[in-house]
């Protein structure tokens, strides 16, 4: 497990609160995720380099599912990310999380 049981439980509860984001825990479609990710890498560098925008490659899937769920639910406060996430389905969030989890950062 990439996250502790307690953290995972919190995330699961949190995800459930966003209108069924828990469904996104099903294995994500990496190919779909790769296509969708092309939108993300305009700002979040695929290399994993940090220049002011958070690094999202190599993240545990649950972390990204949780974060995108919060942006979609307008809980997290960044207008760009809210606009990006608002139309994501659970399947798309799972796909993105699976894809970014599969990428190893080149630099840290």
């Amino acid at each position: 497990m990439r996250v502790g049981r307690a953290v995972a439980l919190v995330l699961l509860v949190a995800a459930s609160a966003f209108g069924g984001a828990a469904g996104a825990w099903a294995e994500g479609d990496k190919e779909l995720g790769e296509y969708l990710s092309s939108e993300c890498v305009t700002c979040h560098q695929l290399s994993g380099k940090f220049d002011g925008i958070p690094v999202i490659v190599g993240l545990p899937e649950q972390t990204l599912v949780h974060a995108l769920g919060e942006y979609r639910a307008k809980i997290r406060d960044n207008a760009v990310m809210r606009a990006i996430a608002v139309k994501f389905t659970d399947e798309e969030i799972a796909a993105l999380a699976a894809y970014f989890n599969s990428i190893t950062p080149e630099t840290q």
């Binding site: 890498v41 305009t42 290399s47 002011g52 207008a79 606009a83």
Partner: protein, 421 residues
């Protein structure tokens, strides 16, 4: 799966001894994509098609430059927030298999599906991607010309013009008058002129030139992020910026580069520096190929950025009529990914997904004070419609503005890595 099937199909034909048939040879040749233009739209398409097709598609990018100066963040260069080197990026796309032909594309022969280069040679294509950016409509301002732009620069195409604006700005003395002629819609980078005003005012103020003045003569009665810019000008540069809508100037009647004057319907203004940002249109090669309509820009299908005039051609970036999306590097980069997937879908049967587009335009108002506008877009009725939008608010606290400033710098680092590296 399709690749495997094709390989099996070819092997079968080899065994049948029919490889010499011309039709088979054609079927085995790699499909060819030619991309005209190496800006945020063109370079991104070239990279993504080459990288994601893993050698199955032959990709040639026609772009005379070996390194690209970005128009985005050129205002930060004018404002001393960045150096010229920091907005200059060499192409590093050969590692993905992109062939970079360093020439101008001279013409497109749509019947033969060929691009003629400046040296007379030709490139054949199965799909053509046209991303030439904008051309300046010099005759949209009475008295303006390409020659006049050496005295009154537009600075709306990256490179020498950007440097000229900077050189002139830096040479001014306190009490100088800068006149900016803002462009009519639609044009590259809607908040750009006003960010430029902010960055120029920042330079003047930093030098203590608070008696200097920037007069903006605008053909529009409102502009992108207007309330945010006006609030910022009042806060940081009081008395230094005067913005005039059409009712206040009645239209520009003429400009005189020798006398350094701008004459409106109401007055003649003598300036120390004039920044003329004229009306714009799609790059010449797109217009010459008949890809533009009467607006001067190119109609496309919002589902995949395919030209409405030629099904073998995609047009993207500033040259395209992209519905609700503004002409910006972010938009071009976003459209490029839709185009790349559509091209791969047509030429290599890659799995495709519905188009989705995004844009954000950040604008620097002052040091550590940046604002943004943006949205998400989807195809609708053949065009592109906004499905979600946002804009910074007036009166935001300094912490949020500083965070947005950092986000702007982070986005730039991200997008140039995505385009050029």
């Amino acid at each position: 799966m399709t690749t495997i099937n094709r390989r099996h199909f070819s092997t079968g034909m080899l065994a049948a001894g029919i490889i010499a048939m011309p039709g088979v040879l054609r079927a085995q040749a790699k499909p060819k994509v030619v991309v005209i233009g190496g800006g945020p739209g063109g370079a991104t398409v070239a990279k993504y098609v080459a990288r994601d097709s893993k050698g199955a598609i032959d990709v040639t990018m026609v772009e005379p430059l070996d390194k690209f100066v970005t128009c985005f963040h050129s205002n930060l260069y004018l404002g001393d927030f960045k150096t010229f080197d920091q907005i200059t990026h060499p192409y590093k796309l050969s590692g993905y298999g992109v062939k970079h032909v360093r020439q101008m594309a001279a013409a497109i022969d749509r019947d033969k599906k060929q691009v003629r280069l400046a040296d007379g040679s030709t490139l054949s294509y199965d799909r053509l991607v046209v991303a030439p950016g904008i051309d300046i409509k010099f005759d949209s301002v009475p008295g303006y010309s390409e020659a006049a732009a050496e005295i009154m620069p537009h600075g709306w195409k990256p490179g020498a013009q950007t440097r000229l604006v900077k050189k002139q700005l830096d040479a001014l003395e306190d009490g100088a008058t800068i006149v900016m002629l803002a462009p009519p819609n639609p044009y590259r980078c809607p908040p750009g002129p006003y960010e430029r005003v902010s960055c120029m005012a920042h330079v003047l103020k930093t030098k203590g030139h608070t008696k200097s003045k920037i007069v903006v003569i605008d053909p529009k009665d409102k502009f992108s992020k207007m309330a945010l810019f006006q609030e910022g000008w009042q806060k940081y540069y009081p008395g230094m910026v005067e913005w005039m809508d059409p009712k206040m100037h009645g239209g520009v009647k003429s400009i005189d580069p020798k006398a350094m004057t701008v004459t409106t319907d109401f007055e003649t203004i003598k300036a120390n520096m004039v920044n003329v940002i004229p009306a714009q249109m799609a790059g010449k090669i797109a217009r010459d190929a008949g890809l533009a309509n009467e607006s001067g820009y190119c109609p496309i299908d919002g589902a995949d950025m395919k030209s409405k005039i030629d099904p073998n051609i995609f047009v993207l970036g500033d040259a395209a009529i992209a519905g609700a999306m503004p002409k910006s590097a972010f938009s071009a980069n976003s459209q490029a990914k839709v185009v790349a997937l559509a091209v791969r879908g047509e030429l290599s049967a890659a799995r495709t997904f519905p188009a989705r587009y995004a844009n954000t335009c950040w604008s620097v108002i002052a040091k550590d004070d940046t604002v943004k506008v943006g949205g998400r877009y989807e195809p609708k009725d053949g065009a592109i419609a906004e499905v979600e939008g946002f804009v910074s608010k007036t009166g935001e606290d300094a912490g949020l503005r500083a965070q947005t400033a950092e986000e702007n710098l982070g986005w730039y680092a991200g997008i140039v890595a995505d385009i050029f590296a």
